[in-house]
Amino acid sequence: MPQHGRFEGLVMPHLDAGYNLARWLTRNVNDAEDVVQEASLRALKYVESLRDGDARAWFLTIVRHAFYDWCKRNRPTEVVHDDGAAIDAAVDESALDPERVAVRNAESRALGEAVAALPLVFREVLILRELEELSYKEIARVVDIPVGTVMSRLARARGLLQRSPLLHAIRAHASGGER
C-alpha cells in the first residue's frame, strides 16, 4: 500500500509539530494525543492527495481541523469563529484553574501561562508563528483566513500577551536588552 510509505516519509517527520499545536490548542496531554491520533488517521487516508513540499502546513491543517471537531464535541463553549467584538476578554477563564495556578512555579511559567490563556483564535496564530515559525501565507492556509486577518490576529495576540495580568516583566526584559 503506497500511502503508508508516503505517510511514513511525509507526515511522520511533522508529528512533533502536529503534537505541539494540538498540545497548545487542547492545553492537555491526553486530549492532544487523541487529536493527533485522529489527525493521523485522516492524514493516512488523504496522503495520496498531498503534493510534496508543503507536508508540514498540510498536516498542521489536518491537526487543526481534528482539534476543532474534537472541540465541538467536548468543549463547545470554547469554539468562537470570529475575533470581533465577541472576544474582549484578554484571558480565557477556563485556563485559570486557581488551584493549578497556585501550585505551579509562577515565575518560570508566567509566559507559558499567558500564552495558554489566550483565546483560541489568537493562540493558534501565535503558536503557528512563534513556535512553528510559519510564514503569514502558510498560517493563512492552515487557519483558512486572509493574510490581513493573520496580521490583525497576531497583533492582537501580541498585544494581549504584553498586557497580560499573568505577565509583568516584558517591558523590563525589553529595556534590559541583551548585554
Binding site: 505541539n20 492532544a32 536588552g177
Partner: protein
C-alpha cells in the same frame, strides 16, 4: 515613510514578511523614530521570551511508536474493517480510531502509567541528575536575563575571560559558518562545580553548552525535560552538555560538531 504607514508594517517587518525595497524604507524610518523602533523592539523581545520560556511540546515517544505500529499493521492488512472486533471501546470517541486503537489502546493505560512514573522518577532524582540541573540553570539564566556575562563572537575574547575564572581552559570556537554563531559565555554552577557555559544561537533559538573537563561523567542520552532538549557528548578530555529549545536532531548534530572540531585542533 511616516509613522502612520510604518506602524502598520513594523510587526510584519519583525516577522520577515516585508520585501527588501519596503524593508529599507522601514529601516530608515526606524532609525529616526524612537516610538516605532520601540514597537519593533517589543515584538523582537516578546519573540525572544516566547522562544526561551514557552515550551515546545514534541510528540511523546509512545505516541510516535503507537502510530508507526498502527500504520505498519494497517499496511499488512487489506482492509482494517474486516478484522475481528477489537476489545469494546471505552467511549464512542475511541471507536472512531478503529485500526489505530486495536490492541494499541490496551497498552495505552500502561504507557501512560509508565510515563507518569518515569516523570516522577526524574523529579525525584532532580538533585543528582545533571541534565535536570542543566535545564534548571538554563531556565533561570533566561528568566533573569543573564544568559551572557561576556558578549562576544570572538573566541580570543571569550576563552581568556573563562580561563581567568576557572581552573581549566575550555575549548571555545565560533560555528557561524555552520549556522551556530557564538554570542557569548557565562559561568554556572553545575554539580557543585563552576562550569564554563558557552552561548550559541541557531536561527532564533539560544543554545547553552556547558563545557567541563571529562572526569568520566556517565553519558546522558538525548532527552526532553520541561520542553527543552538536552544532548551530551565527550571527547578530547572534555564533556559537553547542550540545552536548548531547538529540535533534538539539531542539538545532537551540534554537540557532535563541537566534539569533532575539538578533536581536529
Amino acid at each position: 515613510m511616516n509613522c502612520n504607514e510604518a506602524v502598520k508594517l513594523v510587526a510584519a517587518y519583525a516577522d520577515g514578511e516585508i520585501d527588501s525595497a519596503r524593508g529599507r524604507s522601514i529601516e530608515e524610518h526606524l532609525r529616526s523614530c524612537a516610538a516605532c523602533e520601540a514597537k519593533h523592539q517589543d515584538v523582537l523581545a516578546l519573540r525572544a521570551r516566547i522562544r526561551a520560556e514557552v515550551p515546545y511540546y514534541p510528540a511523546p515517544p509512545a505516541l510516535n511508536e503507537r502510530l508507526r505500529a498502527a500504520v505498519a499493521r494497517d499496511a499488512s492488512e487489506p482492509d482494517g474493517s474486516e478484522r475481528p472486533a477489537a476489545p469494546a471501546p471505552r467511549s464512542p470517541d475511541r471507536s472512531r480510531f478503529g485500526w489505530l486503537m486495536g490492541g494499541a489502546l490496551a497498552g495505552c493505560a500502561a504507557t501512560l502509567l509508565a510515563f507518569f512514573l518515569s516523570t516522577a522518577v526524574i523529579d525525584w532524582r532532580a538533585n543528582e541528575d545533571i541534565a535536570v540541573q542543566a535545564v534548571g540553570t538554563h531556565v533561570r539564566a533566561t528568566l533573569d536575563n543573564r544568559l551572557i556575562e561576556v558578549a562576544s563572537s570572538e573566541q580570543h575574547t571569550v576563552k581568556p575571560w573563562l580561563s581567568a575564572r576557572l581552573d581549566y581552559s575550555p575549548p571555545v570556537r565560533d560555528f557561524a559558518s555552520d549556522g551556530f554563531p557564538l554570542v557569548g559565555a557565562r559561568l554556572e554552577t553545575l554539580d557543585k562545580q563552576r562550569v564554563a557555559t558557552l552561548v550559541y544561537r541557531y536561527r532564533q533559538h539560544t543554545i547553552d553548552v556547558y563545557v567541563r573537563p571529562d572526569s568520566a561523567h556517565a553519558p546522558t542520552a538525548p532527552r526532553t525535560l520541561r520542553g527543552f532538549n538536552v544532548a551530551h557528548a565527550t571527547g578530547s578530555g572534555m564533556d559537553w552538555l547542550a540545552v536548548s529549545d531547538v529540535s533534538p536532531d539539531v542539538l545532537t548534530g551540534f554537540v557532535q560538531l563541537l566534539v569533532q572540531q575539538s578533536a581536529a585542533k
